[in-house]
Amino acid sequence: MNTYWQLAVFFFAAINPASVALATARRGADRDARPRWQTPAIAIVIAVVVYAAVAFGSERILDGLDIEPESFRVAAGIVMAAVGVLIIWRGAFDPQSEDAGLQAAVFPLALPLLVSPAGLVAAVSYGADDGGGKALGALAVSLGIAAVLLVAHPQRAMPALDAIARLTGALLVVVAAGLVVDGVRAI
């Protein structure tokens, strides 16, 4: 069992709010006429819904896959480590999309920036181990930080965001290694 704050750190590494903000900042200002908060807000709502479904349904997902939570930790760790290495190496993901407004909220903002492979496997693994409610609560911290950064749209801070994103990627590799060791050492 992890504490709430441990989980919050793990999800911070998996969701990587700096990477999300950087990818969005690189796309430039939204040409949509809606208020600036609206697109991020929709994306955050979509992410919360997806993560809630995954975290609360984690036991069913693993049962359906015939996988013990302990074994899934190893798989989740491998995915998270791979994502972490990619972010350290290449920086934030840069999904190609011309979409704006509501469409941009779905793609690429909600998926694959906020709802990412690392976030999804983390939600399944920690949801199964620590409970869906606790996992979602811990996720909320990272989604909140991401929301603030997305609304602020800090284009001038792109170099800083890049550095933070890569550091968070490194943190993700460490968290992933811990998860793999945990999976191997579990009964």
Partner: protein, 397 residues
Amino acid sequence: MTRGMAAVLGVWAVGAIGLRVVVVPPQFCPPVTSAGALESAKAAAGWIERAQQPDGSYTYEFNADESTYSAEYNSVRHAGVTTSLYQLAAIDPSVLPTADRGLTWMQDHMARYNGWAALQDPFDGTIELGADALMLTALAQRRIATNDPQYDSLMHEVARFILVMQQDDGSFLLRWLPQTGAPDPTERSKYATGESFWALAMMHRLFPTEGWDVPTRKVADYLSLHRDTVEKQKFPPWADQWAAYGLAEMAAWPGPGPQLNEANVTYARSLAERFGFLVRVESQRRDNAFSDVIHGRQARAAGMGTWGEGLDSLWRLSGLDSRLAHMQAKIGERAACTSGMLAERQIKAGDPNTGPDVPRLGGWFTDGVTRMDDQQHALSALLRGREILDSRSKEQK
């Protein structure tokens, strides 16, 4: 948006399929009941019994594909098989004559020096600790099954030999050399230490006023604190089911508890983790070439049986020591999975190529070959796992 999202989802799907195939294939734990496990254990004993030689030795190894028998023999495994038969004798006394013939074979090959007795391998003349430790566990299991004291003095003779082989730090040397009249100081065994531990722990259970607890605690601490380092285990802890037997036996000793110290408990926890991991990985393996390449070949019954024995012992231990109680459910789950896999992989009546000329019934074969310890460890694991299966079935009701 649609194209971009489809591309992303496509990449994710490919990754998920790769992950599923390579890292997390489904785990399969065939169901088995307590009665089914007992039937399997009896069938294993049947294989041993039918293959026993007139002198009490057992068939060592049989290649069913070539219908050939190995000329090798191993007195440590002989003693181990006899132990497993006496474990079963507590429930099914019909195996006693077979086990007693195995015991007679050991008695026919004893060496006696300075008040102790030890089994001397009739083929190479060696006196090896493991064979004697398991001979003592066999005698102890016989004592428990029959309450017959006729071998008590032999038990003490063999136990004294085990003490001769113990060093000050609790560890053991492997061989006693008749030429020098002393233990060979250069060799240890990763098996014999745990075997001796269990044997001495049972001596204290059966003869609690004689002080067998002192050497037992010494070896428990050596196993818990130093063995993996001193004996250079590459991936500690060594998955030592004999140590698990010994720890469970210690925890059940009479007198005020807890009998285990913190180091012993930490060691028990690490053993449970190791056995649990091994069972989880095994439950993901399938009997096909693809699985062989990606996940490794299915374990032979001798290996899987030892995991089951270890988990069965740790399950009992976790029921006796509150510091391990939180692990009992998971340990039970893995032990039940082991029993299910063992029962499912055993050769049953009606399987092809089973008949009087090709002794396969009740055995476990890997690449067409079975060795007597396949039956031994699987038998013990299935037998001892019944209590877990019973308890889990009560919980489900």
